[in-house]
């Protein structure tokens, strides 16, 4: 049911892991639906994404879209990263089954959530970025203190 590329990224996911003291961290999705994606960004002073890592709880498509999304934003500027849409992630993976399209949306949202976190931390405004909706820690501020 999955393309070869999806299977490749599922079996050999790129950029899995965490970044200590990351410039921005975004977590989207929720355990109820069975998909959680966390994206870590290391952004240098020129606004270039030097490094990116992810962790994902979810199906094969969720893992593959996370992996592909990290590849698509690595080395890019913030503005370029913002242009990485779910469509771009899907195309890069040679498509997803219809029931898995939401996984690619999650990947796009994860990038946005991490960039939003970066903007918040540095008190800057990123053109074209609004507060991500599906951050799982929304309304759980006390909980998120722990991380």
């Amino acid at each position: 049911m999955y393309s070869e590329k999806v299977m490749d990224h599922f079996q050999n996911p790129r950029n899995v892991g965490e970044i200590e003291n990351a410039s921005g961290v975004g977590t989207v999705g929720n355990a109820k639906c069975g998909d959680i994606m966390r994206m870590y960004l290391d952004i240098d002073d020129n606004g270039i994404i030097r490094d990116v890592k992810f962790k994902t709880f979810g199906c094969g498509a969720a893992v593959a879209t996370s992996s592909m999304a990290t590849e698509l934003v690595k080395g890019k500027s913030i503005q370029e990263a913002l242009q990485v849409t779910n469509k771009a992630v899907m195309e890069a993976l040679d498509g997803l089954p219809p029931v898995k399209v939401h996984c690619s949306l999650l990947a796009e949202e994860a990038i946005h959530a991490a960039l939003w976190d970066y903007a918040q931390k540095n008190s800057i405004k990123i053109e074209g970025l609004s507060k991500p909706k599906s951050d799982i820690h929304e309304g759980e501020e006390d909980e998120s203190e722990e991380y």
């Binding site: 599922f10 355990a31 069975g34 959680i36 992810f54 962790k55 709880f57 094969g60 893992v63």
Partner: protein
């Protein structure tokens, strides 16, 4: 490679070679229509009669109480819809449970849209139906109680005798979906007060596309498929003779081997369960520890999602199944796992392994090692596990 370890025998089984052999002549030699006069037709008729008698004997039933169908789903649909129709004058209330197969649940939901009322009884944390709640749900207009014999996902065996007694005491018909139980557990319809029972051939090394519905003599039941006079005018259509022959043979073999098979599978099952629970941390067994089908193991691995687990097991040549949303085609995980009280994220991480005649201890050793590797790998990339580890480090 490529060795395949098939541990999804609750989904379907490999047709036994002797069953296949018994069926073959009914495709190529004795292909006659059982309703015809000439001798090859009579051969088909004899074969159907023989299978019907064999199957009836396995249940302590009469041959004329066995009606062949296309499988478990049809049998469930027939039993419930036809009872609803035939007994509508008496009442419009049906009692079932929250963990039934969709063939029962969706049929009940269909009837609800057509003026029937259905009570869905809870189960306890091991998946056993709550008998007190079931009995309290009975009303004067209750016409049917339908409870599965054993659950297809978590393997829990229901207190069928007690439910049969309750139904009998209140003069209510009792149907049981025995698709997973028939051939695995001894069943006597009189002792258990069962009025109707659904079963399916391919779950016990028989062919697909054949099942039966046992209907106790005296139960008013309407025709399900209208047309010819087959199946005592209750289910029209030229009989699936090879399927019926195969089912008869499979039933016969299942009964002959049951005792020895149960002993063997129970031992293997317990070995699998004990080792997985001991060797994979943050794992739970779903379903009852002992009141479960001899071939069923169902685990939840915390912080891991089921579909990912299945794909990785498949890559290692291991076939299993999961109750995760991703495998159900919806956003919700299995209704059975939610009914036993599992939180969503734990229900998403379930794995069902169902053993079969060919399963060996060596197979299970390999599977256990793979499970350990894969679960560890998936956890290493799970944000839920990361959070859990960080939280426990803080304490």
């Amino acid at each position: 490679m490529e060795r395949i370890i098939y541990l999804d025998n609750a989904a379907t089984t490999k047709t036994s070679p002797t069953v296949l052999e018994a069926m073959l002549p009914y495709f190529s030699e004795y292909y006659g229509n059982a309703s015809s006069i000439y001798s090859i037709g009579a051969k088909s008729k004899e074969a159907i009669t023989h299978s019907r008698e064999t199957i009836a004997a396995t249940l302590g039933a009469k041959p004329e109480e066995i009606y062949f169908t296309a499988g478990g789903s049809e049998s469930d649909n027939w039993a419930i819809k036809a009872t609803a129709e035939a007994y509508r004058a008496k009442g419009n209330h049906i009692i079932t449970t929250k963990i039934e197969h969709h063939a029962v649940l969706h049929t009940c939901e269909y009837l609800e849209k057509n003026g029937f009322e259905v009570s869905y009884i809870d189960v306890d944390e091991s998946g056993v139906v709550k008998l007190d709640q079931l009995e309290k749900a009975i009303r004067p207009e209750t016409i049917l109680i339908t409870v599965m014999f054993a659950n297809n996902e978590i393997g829990t065996i229901q207190p069928i005798r007690e439910i049969g007694e309750i139904a009998h005491r209140h003069g209510i018909l009792f149907h049981t979906d025995a698709v997973q139980a028939y051939g695995q557990l001894p069943i006597n319809v009189d002792e258990l007060h069962i009025d109707m029972l659904s079963s399916s051939g391919h779950k016990l090394c028989g062919p697909k596309g054949i099942g039966f519905l046992y209907i106790r003599k005296g139960v008013k039941i309407r025709s399900f498929v209208h047309g010819g006079a087959q199946e005592r005018k209750r289910r029209a259509g030229t009989e699936n003779v090879p399927g019926i022959v195969g089912y008869g043979k499979a039933a016969e073999e299942a009964m002959q081997t049951m005792q020895e098979r149960t002993a063997r599978e129970t031992e293997l099952r317990d070995y699998l369960i004990d080792r997985v629970l001991k060797e994979v941390p943050y794992t739970r067994l779903n379903g009852h520890r002992t009141k479960r089908l001899p071939n069923n193991a169902n685990f939840s691995f915390q912080f891991v999602e089921g579909e990912s687990l299945l794909i990785m097991l498949d890559m290692a040549g291991i076939c299993g199944s999961s109750g995760s949303a991703c495998t159900s085609g919806s956003l919700d995980p299995s209704h059975v796992l939610l009914a036993i009280g599992l939180p969503h994220e734990i229900a998403h991480g379930s794995l069902r392994l169902t053993l079969g005649a060919e399963t060996t201890k060596e197979d299970l050793d390999f599977v256990i090692e793979k499970i350990k590797e894969i679960v560890e790998h998936l956890r290493s990339m799970s944000p839920l596990y990361e959070d859990f580890v960080k939280k426990s480090q803080k304490r």
